[in-house]
Amino acid sequence: MQYNRENSRSGKNLNSSIFKGVVRDRTKKFFSFKISGKYQSDRFKTHQSELFKDFHEKYSDNCDDQDDSLLRSDGSFNPSDPYGIQRKEKHALPPRWVDQEEEIEEYIIEINEALLKFEKECNKIKRHEYMVKEDVPIQAIDRLNSEIINLIRKSENTLSEIKSIPLDDHVDRKVKDNVHYSLAIKLKGCTSKANKIQKELVAYMESHYKKDDDTNKPGNLLDGFDDDEEMNQQEVMQRQMAAVKDEEIEDMVKAANDLASLFKELSVLVIEQGTVLDRIDYNVETALVHTKKGRKHLVKAKEYSESSRARNIILCLAASILFCIVILIIKKY
């Protein structure tokens, strides 16, 4: 069970000053009523049967066990599993999407950390901390970059896993869909942030360091009057290095484009914003219509199953059989 008694009363601390309007916290009063109420019911309890005592203790002292008793008390009955053991198992386990959800939440934390580092590096570049292009730790940036992309890819895969989980119950399905959307929105936030930083970086690198190259060249040529072989070699080395760096930059541009094409399907969310589809009441209403339809079908099914005609016919048949038997017996004697 996820919520045990230790944390059950430790909700986030609320500071009423964050509210613009007046609020009043009634929790203390609620619990004081509860404590006094418990004391009374304890006195009451001594007159009750042992069974009730067991029941009461179970509920007031051990939250974790509630589920099975609850299931039995809600009157549901499963013919293949009369003691509710299987059902308890099913309900005690959290739904199937929880693992994936947690996984993605972790990825998101990691992505955000990486993004922070990434941003720092980019800002360093922009603040001219590297005088020449060759000093720029492109490899480190690249590593960060691909790390982010990797994480996002992984999350995307996990996300599609969630989407493909089959669920029968419509409430479960709705919750699952909402989980899917919620994570998608969060990931979308991460990607667009990564995208933005990258774009800025690439644009900066392209404009700034290319110019640098152009202005440096004539200078080198002028200096080249008293060149010797050593210098020449160095220059060649430098040029080679520059070529490598250029390639690296190109890689980065590619990576940025990769990111842009991620999560295309989620563009639907952006489009829906501000329309009636994104309204809470609209969603509840449409769900209501669905359940009403469902209920109608159920009622009909129930009517069919309970329809007295079938029962009457059976009764009639039974009566006639009985009648025949009686006649047979009478005839025999």
Binding site: M1, Q2, Y3, S8, G11, K12, L14, I18, F19, K20, G21, V22, V23, R24, D25, R26, T27, K29, F30, F31, F33, K34, S41, Y59, S60, Q66, D67, S73, D74, H91, P94, P95, D169, V171, D172, K174, V175, N178, V179, Y181, S182, I185, A260, S267, V268, L269, V270, I271, Q273, G274, T275, V276, L277, R279, I280, D281, Y282, N283, V284, A287
Partner: protein, 569 residues
């Protein structure tokens, strides 16, 4: 440009949308786990106005529903936040829920104060120790605009009845209004003086019961004010100004409400399957233009359309891979923009269609004439012309006769007009509306504010209106100003007559307060909301908030008026 600056200048503590959003935000942030949000019919509306599904999803709210539906599926992995009004029905349902909990844990958030006795019962029902927190937040109103709230009570005529004749439903309604008003006062953190319109018995009753309600919740009220600054709560009655809801209006929000109808920001257009949403909080274009007049909106729409065309052009231009990439990237934003343009185009288009079809231009000129000018013989002539015109909508004809009979009550021409209405095949039931209206808001029923025939103190207000005409309002279709406009004009000068609008609380030495909350029993209108917003923008020293039992257009107003017959008032 300057207008938007003015909008920014508004103090954030009186922005109703901001306040209720802040309530919801903090309510949902109470815990970090996976959440479910359970609402009742009203709170669903409150939260829908200013909070979207994607907002909820971002905050890990994975399930939201109304309280009525008792599911059987266990949702142990979710923490439920119940955000409901304090009603017996909801209370009973929560009790049942706690006795057989479906969720892992519970946060109970009430939109009104909850009595100790009820709290005790809930505590006793919570045998499984599932409740983590019980909170009262005071967001018990529909925050329609920044300075307009509503309770969505379509009719409040039964509040006029004598105490002994009231049904339980009426008492519920009455309590709902009291709780709602207290919420508004508390959420704005203001301690009010209460004033009311003397000519209305329901306003007087409400004022008195509100004062005693406040004193019974004095602990809460004491929390509310940050300083000693007081505000005024003025309770008015719609019958003091039956003209404003009857007129055709020409500013964007009012016009859409009058010609199509807005419910909780949602508008159902004739030719579209999906409804559209006109919400000033999330729609920049609407926020900018909701108070603008018809031709100005048209101009703005054209600008929007050219913007859109340019975007489309640049989008269609694809030379290389990069352009393609950009297109893909911008596609959702583009689509969103396209949606916005079509939305406003179709809303505006439907309005202007109706205007030409119903010949509203000529009808409205006469409407405004009757409302502001005193030239009977001329108006009678024009009335006859319009009533004989077969192309004019029947409803518009009735509306005109109503305005005329309000203006010149007891005039012999009214009878003539009625026969003309009958001759143009209007059902007698509809013609009877005219009688109901007079019965509800006739000369002897309403205060003497209407049509500016009064003397003395009112002159100042009339001057104010006149100066306003010359300043900005030259259009023939928007000459009329509501009574509320006069009343506020006098209030900010501290000159509102104490004999017409007495205090329920002890009357203060200085009746001028910085903050004014006006509540209209029988419904406010978007036109009045516009006037209030204009006022707030033009004078930063005062903050006016308008509220009503509902927000009326002419049809919903007449529906309420016909209840006069049902209650035999």
């Amino acid at each position: 440009m300057e207008e938007s600056k003015d909008l920014e200048r508004r103090g954030p503590d009186t922005d109703l949308i901001e306040i209720s959003k802040n309530y919801f935000e903090n309510m949902i942030n109470m815990c970090d786990e996976r959440k479910a949000l359970i609402l009742d019919e009203d709170t669903l509306g409150y939260i829908s106005l200013n909070y979207s599904r994607s907002n909820l999803l971002e905050k890990n709210v994975y399930f939201f529903d109304v309280i009525d539906r008792k599911g059987t599926e266990k949702l142990n992995h979710l923490v439920a936040i119940f955000f409901v009004r304090n009603t017996n029905d909801n209370f009973q349902k929560i009790k049942e829920e706690l006795e057989d909990p479906l969720f892992g844990a519970y946060y109970l958030v009430f939109a009104n104060p909850i009595e100790d006795e009820k709290l005790r019962e809930l505590a006793e029902a919570d045998r499984f120790d599932k409740v983590r927190r019980v909170l009262e937040i005071f967001a018990d109103f529909y925050a329609v605009n920044r300075d307009l709230f509503s309770f969505n009570i379509p009719t409040s005529m039964d509040l006029c009845l004598h105490e002994s004749a009231m049904t339980p439903a009426t008492h519920v309604k009455n309590n709902r209004i009291l709780q709602g008003l207290l919420s508004v006062v508390l959420s704005c953190r203001k301690q009010p003086y209460v004033r009311f319109s003397k000519h209305s018995n329901r306003a007087a009753k409400l004022a008195d019961s509100f004062v005693s309600y406040m004193s019974s919740e004095d602990e809460l009220v004491a929390r509310s004010s940050k300083d000693d600054e007081k505000c005024t709560l003025l309770i008015l009655d719609r019958k003091d100004d039956p003209v404003t809801p009857l007129l055709n209006q020409w500013t964007y929000q009012s016009m859409v409400h009058e010609l199509i109808g807005i419910t909780k920001h949602r508008v159902k257009l004739a030719d579209k399957k999906e409804e559209i949403v006109l919400n000033p909080d999330e729609d920049e274009f609407f926020k900018k233009n909701m108070y603008k007049k018809f031709p100005e909106v048209q101009k703005e729409l054209e600008v929007l359309l050219t913007q859109f065309k340019e975007k489309e052009k640049s989008r269609a231009k694809i030379d290389n891979i990069k352009d393609m990439q950009r297109m893909v990237e911008n596609f959702p934003e583009f689509k969103k923009f396209a949606g916005k343009v079509t939305k406003h185009y179709s809303a505006f288009g439907e309005c202007s269609d109706k205007i030409t079809k119903r010949k509203l231009f000529s009808v409205c000129e006469l409407e405004q004439d009757i409302a502001v000018k005193n030239s009977k013989s001329e108006q009678v002539k024009e009335m006859k012309e319009i009533l004989e015109d077969p192309e004019v909508d029947q409803f518009e004809k009735i509306r005109l006769v109503m305005l005329f009979s309000l203006r010149y009550e007891g005039d012999s021409n009214v009878k003539k007009f009625r026969t003309m209405l009958r001759e143009s095949n209007i059902s007698p039931d509809h013609i009877d509306f005219i009688d109901f209206l007079i019965q509800y808001a006739g000369k002897d029923k309403r205060s003497n504010f209407l049509f500016g025939k009064n003397t003395g103190l009112l002159k100042g207000a009339m001057d104010l209106i006149k100066s306003n005409f010359t300043e900005e309002d030259e259009s023939v279709y928007t000459r009329h100003k509501s009574c509320l406009f006069n009343i506020i004009g006098q209030m900010v000068k501290g000159k509102l007559s104490e004999s017409d609008f007495p205090f329920s609380t002890q009357s203060p030495r200085d009746t001028k307060t910085k903050d004014i909350i006006v509540f209209i029993l029988g419904g406010a209108t978007y036109q009045e909301a516009k006037e209030v917003a204009d006022f707030n923008n033009s004078d930063p020293n005062f903050n006016v908030i308008l509220g009503g039992t509902t927000v009326h257009n002419s049809k919903s107003f007449l529906a309420e008026v016909t209840e006069v017959r049902d209650y035999g008032l």
